[in-house]
Assembly symmetry: C2
Homo-oligomer: 221 residues x 2
């Protein structure tokens, strides 16, 4: 069930690393498929596997209704992952959940520079942390699982050409600004995955990244 294990067994295992874990993951996969098959029938197999993993991680089939994936998201994300480009997360919980990636996973929310910028400019630390990443020359996939302000900062830096992006996993959560920040992402040309409305969160961001990592492993196998 874990989004927090190493795994060799690519797309089916969903993070399981033991026989019992593997059996649970397989049973869960069947149940998830039966619950959301009708809702995901127009998606590509890769997109389906991402949505399956999100529903597996949350036990919430609603995510099959509210997840939106841009046409170029899977291709652009897999290209970045295959090239081992960086993954940037808004908070450390998302970073902790991504643990079988051969590239770098960064989060600057506890970086002193982020703390300083946040204080000086009266913005959230999550937003300031994105600015620090851009200053560090970040280039890759951004995964926002928590803070709408971090997602808005990504869009702002993209507009001014100050951040290099392959794709954005934009699934911040909350009743204040989350839905709006995701709509704003949807209106750009950035390859994206979002969840419509207030729902989202770290498990959704982690499930998406780990699903992409497994899809890339599957492509290579």
């Amino acid at each position: 069930m874990s989004e927090n294990n190493d795994s060799g067994k690519a797309t089916i295992s969903m993070g399981a690393s033991t026989k019992q874990g593997y059996e649970i993951a397989e049973k869960s996969r069947e149940i998830v498929k039966s619950l959301i098959n009708a809702k995901t029938k127009d998606l590509t197999p890769e997109e389906q596997s991402i949505v399956e993993r999100i529903v597996h991680s949350t036990a919430d089939p609603d995510y099959a209704d509210i997840t939106r994936i841009s046409k170029n998201f899977v291709t652009e994300s897999l290209r970045a992952i295959d090239q081992e480009k960086d993954i940037l997360t808004d908070i450390n919980m998302v970073k902790t959940g991504i643990n079988s990636y051969s590239g770098r996973v960064d989060c600057y929310i506890r970086d002193e520079r982020a703390v300083k910028i946040a204080k000086k400019e009266g913005i959230t630390r999550a937003a300031a942390a994105i600015r620090v990443a851009a200053q560090e020359g970040f280039d890759g996939i951004v995964a926002v699982g928590n803070a709408p302000t971090a997602l808005l900062e990504v869009l702002e830096l993209h507009k001014t050409g100050e951040i290099k992006l392959n794709s954005v996993i934009g699934v911040p959560v909350g009743f204040v600004g989350a839905a709006e920040s995701k709509q704003a992402l949807k209106q750009t040309e950035i390859p994206y995955i979002i969840t419509e409305g207030p729902k989202g969160g770290t498990p959704i961001a982690v499930a998406t990244v780990n699903s992409l990592i497994n899809l890339n492993k599957g492509n290579k196998a």
Copy 2:
């Protein structure tokens, strides 16, 4: 919005550490209250604040319907936190989300002994990690945000007197075994919080622990 920041501002801030973050958290709190007030009116103020934080973290008011808290849960948990007793988590994502605790937060899922036990006995690593914690003399609050097998292991070790517990945050997620493991916890005399059915997850576990930490800070202030 973050479950992942340090914070001095006790119960209201919900993890915010900047002016903007604080304003967002306060607005969110009002919205959450308006959404769930009717559902939580029979809870104590402390229990209400826990449920509010769970709904804030997930943007999912359903959690106000499915969260169950035993009568002695808040008192026993606050006693443990005030004494800075250990908190044990099933996976590292939960541990990462708890970052303003003055006591220890442990997770043994990557411990070599857990890997060995899991392989030898054909159990999940999350369950084996609980056994390692018990062998290490764990005594405090257990927070299971992911693996039903970890929660069942806690109950088994409690039955045989091999683990010392103040309370259990039992919110594993998934369609295979999660609901059953939570029902099993409910039938013990252990002080508990659970979410009925398959839903649960790391944000729920983290929100509960951080809410308790803030309640304890509030009591001292």
